[in-house]
């Protein structure tokens, strides 16, 4: 049996449907290493754990608990919560970190409700004070910084994906199969899974260093390609406004804003986006904001470091040509 460090931080890692660690793993383990000793938990189908455990060790997990079972891919949320309960019982950590993904946060929610633990969601950083682990949040679209802690016990904290830059040192691989007793909680059954096709050459929106987003001003799905062309010249991820998503130019996963993804890149370029407050809520913490809009009164200009009043269909092709000329 493994002895766990008194300052253990239990980290639930997400897997993709094909069984790889998701990109959030590095930041989560990095955050955990900053406040204690990271112990990872991987929940997946039988045989899924070995490679993922080795990858987790490379990202800083001192020990990896692997809960394998057929339920993992067959039921919504409950198998993850059962595994997290078993792991918390074994490790007795100072805090539990979970990715703030759809799957992750619901597992955290079920586990916190079951164990009556204090739950803090969407942290952008964690730290430790005399009383324990503290979660740092950026709320209302980044207008406020809020710190939260729990009244007692180990906090359950979901961490915004892509928000933590810290990385942990690689550790030797140490893996253990975790025996999980099923809670028998009623669960929804998972049927067909359609994995989204990932455009591998382009960075993921969450955590990207540069983002180029397009709005209703692009006018059509075909013309939205201009956003992608600029993104590819800059090595940026592609985002969109809700109006562009609603018009069917791009899938919902591209949406930046209050009800979409929150991004904090070095560079954010908004093309044909008016800058509604709900859009700004998801991008106004970007370091540098560039906006191109033909309406000089568009609110996006209020927060743009460099704003161009003009037609994006003339400005952007010229910009792409100029950037390509400099590269050549």
């Amino acid at each position: 049996m493994t002895d766990f460090q008194a300052d253990s931080i239990l980290v639930l890692l997400d897997l993709t449907p094909s069984g790889e660690l998701t990109k959030s793993a590095a930041g989560l383990l990095g955050a955990a290493a900053g406040v204690g000793t990271p112990v990872a938990l991987i929940v997946g189908a039988a045989g899924a754990g070995e490679q993922a455990a080795a990858d987790a060790a490379a990202l800083g997990a001192t020990h990896v608990l692997v809960a394998e079972g057929a339920e993992a891919g067959a039921q919504v949320t409950v198998p993850g919560a059962d595994a997290l309960a078993a792991a918390a019982e074994l490790v007795r950590p100072d805090a539990i970190l979970v990715p703030n993904s759809i799957e992750g946060r619901e597992v955290a929610g079920r586990y916190a409700a079951r164990s009556r633990s204090g739950l803090a969601v969407d942290a952008v950083a964690v730290s430790r004070d005399a009383e324990g682990v503290v979660a740092h949040h950026s709320v209302y679209g980044g207008a406020y910084n809020v710190d939260s802690a729990v009244t007692w016990g180990a906090p359950v904290i979901t961490v915004r994906e892509g928000a933590v830059d810290a990385r942990a040192e690689a550790q030797p691989v140490s893996t253990e199969q975790l025996a999980v007793e099923a809670s028998g909680r009623r669960a929804a059954a998972i049927g067909r899974v359609d994995e989204a096709v990932v455009t591998s050459s382009r960075p993921e929106l969450r955590g990207a260093a540069k983002v180029v987003s397009g709005g209703r001003g692009l006018g059509s799905e075909a013309q939205f390609a201009l956003v992608e062309q600029l993104a590819d010249v800059l090595g940026a991820a592609v985002g969109a406004s809700r109006a562009a998503v609603d018009a069917g130019y791009v899938p919902q996963s591209y949406q930046v804003g209050q009800t979409g993804v929150s991004v904090s890149p070095q560079l954010y370029i908004a093309l044909g986006i008016s800058g509604a407050i709900q859009h700004r809520a998801g991008m106004q913490t970007a370091k540098t904001i560039v906006a191109i809009n033909k309406d000089g009164d568009a609110p996006i200009f209020e927060i743009a470091d460099f704003g161009i009043v003009g037609d994006l269909f003339t400005v952007v092709p010229q910009l792409i040509a100029a950037l390509e000329a400099r590269k050549a």
Binding site: E106, A113, E195, Q278, A281, D311
Partner: protein, 258 residues
């Protein structure tokens, strides 16, 4: 079929949302409040099912300050059969755990076959309350649904997941949450607004629900510090005179962004 729809009052996101720097609570006086758009969509799912299936009862449930009663009433004007509002001073600044416990207790008391919530609220945007309620009620959570089909003692739909979509099915009773892919809600019409005045509106306290907000058996999440960030200011703004693309390229290169 009895459907409970969870609706929240939130600051109108078309205005600036403020937090009170002393109490850390949302400053409800500083901005207009509205029925959360995602809650309206959740109600629309229930109402369109009720339109097609006679004998469906739709109850809107909200945990909110007393002042939110008018907002909750909008749900009645849209077509819900009755409303329940949980109001208690001890709920000011309630964390996720307490919110879920209160809502689960109220749902239990109301009775239900199906609970419909938003996938995430526009103010807290935690996205966890529905799963927590499902845990407390010991029913399945079929959450984050892009489509909803209710039939034969079960609820089905397409779940928006982190890596694509999946088809999920849950036996009733169940808790579901829906995404903004579901249709916009109907507007209340004059007839609905008049009818709403006669519909049952029940106000419950924590004592009615047997929930103790102060219990030390549950660990609570508390805010320990709060700071407002200085607002962003505008930088350079130029009007395109035929060379704006070139000038932007220069700006990006100078700032090591390209």
């Amino acid at each position: 079929m009895k459907i409970v729809v969870l609706v929240k009052e939130v600051p109108d996101t078309y205005g600036d949302r403020k937090l009170n720097l002393q109490t850390g609570l949302a400053d409800r006086a500083a901005s207009d409040t509205v029925l959360d758009e995602i809650g309206e969509r959740a109600l629309e799912v229930a109402l369109s099912y009720a339109d097609a299936n006679a004998g469906t009862e739709v109850v809107v449930l909200s945990m909110s300050p007393e002042s939110a009663a008018a907002t909750v009433r909008k749900g009645l004007a849209m077509g819900a059969s009755s409303a329940v509002q949980v109001v208690d001073d001890a709920l000011a600044g309630a964390d996720l755990g307490l919110t879920a416990e209160v809502l689960a207790a109220a749902v239990q008391r109301i009775g239900y076959d199906l609970v419909i919530a938003g996938n995430e609220s526009t103010d807290g945007s935690g996205g966890v309350v529905p799963a927590m309620i499902a845990e407390l009620l010991d029913v399945p959570n079929a959450t984050s649904l892009n489509s909803v089909e209710i039939a034969d003692g079960e609820v089905r739909g397409e779940r928006a997941s982190d890596h694509g979509t999946m088809q999920v099915t849950a036996a009733l009773p169940a808790v579901i949450s829906i995404t903004e892919r579901l249709p916009d809600a109907r507007f209340p019409n004059f007839k609905g607004i008049m009818a709403a005045k006669k519909k049952p509106f029940e106000t419950l306290s924590l004592a009615d629900l047997g929930v103790d907000a102060e219990t030390t058996e549950a660990s609570r999440s508390i805010m320990i510090s709060l700071a407002e960030k200085p607002p962003r200011t505008a930088g350079t703004k130029i009007v395109d005179e035929g060379d704006a693309g070139e000038r932007l390229a220069e700006y990006l290169v100078q700032n090591r962004l390209a």
